[in-house]
């Protein structure tokens, strides 16, 4: 069965520190992968999506970057976090008509 793992669940980081959030998928191959950000009580903002290894599309210019080093691995990174990077980050994948979400990471930048 298909599963998606996202970690860590919560993270508190100081301003200016680096960030690395990881997402891995099991039970499928060549999925589309996504990173979303959700501010408190708000909707989902698509940050990045990837249709294959090394292929990244950015939806919103920002302080973040994404990479897909392997077919089922998607990483969200930042070299220097800003206060405005705080939020809830969701990884997701879809293929054909199925879609699955990770548990999310609550990031607080202090």
């Amino acid at each position: 069965s298909q599963t998606i793992h996202q970690w860590p669940a919560t993270l508190v980081q100081p301003v200016g520190s680096p960030l690395s959030l990881e997402c891995t998928v099991e039970g499928t191959s060549n999925p589309n992968l996504y990173w979303y950000r959700q501010a408190a009580g708000r909707g989902l903002q698509l940050l990045f999506y990837s249709v294959g290894i090394g292929q990244i599309s950015s939806e919103v210019p920002q302080n973040l970057s994404a990479s897909r080093p392997q077919d089922r691995q998607f990483i969200l990174s930042s070299k220097k976090l800003l206060l405005s990077d705080s939020g809830f980050y969701l990884c997701a994948w879809n293929r054909d008509t199925e879609a699955f979400f990770g548990q999310g990471t609550r990031l607080t930048v202090v």
């Binding site: 996504y34 009580g41 708000r42 989902l44 548990q103």
Partner: protein, 113 residues
């Protein structure tokens, strides 16, 4: 580009009553999929119901059903016999086959005892 609109930022309903959440979308595509996702306080995204645009019959899942009006580009969610556990954010989403999701802004539903 596709857009999804949810015109009700917040709604409330009494326990055991019925509530309908509205969703409209804009697309020039003919083949696509529509979804309702529930996000409880845990923030986990849970699929509630899915509708294929080529199917005229409205999808149902237990207490959840949709009213899909393709010509009007409307996709409302009806929750019958509301339960306290239905309290959550509800997101309507559009997806072309194998393409990325487009989400609406969400409706916060509160079920009152």
């Amino acid at each position: 580009a596709q857009t999804v609109t949810q015109s009700q930022p917040e709604m409330s309903v009494q326990e055991a009553e019925t509530v309908t959440l509205s969703c409209t979308y804009d697309t020039s595509e003919n083949n696509y999929y529509l979804f309702w996702y529930k996000q409880p306080p845990s923030r986990q995204m849970i699929l509630v119901i899915r509708q294929e645009a080529y199917k005229q019959q409205n999808a149902t899942e237990n207490r959840f059903s949709v009213n899909f009006q393709k010509a009007a580009k409307s996709f409302s969610l009806k929750i019958s016999d509301s339960q306290l556990g239905d309290t959550a954010m509800y997101f309507c989403a559009f997806m072309r086959y194998g393409q990325n999701f487009v989400f609406g802004p969400g409706t916060r539903l509160s079920v009152l005892p």
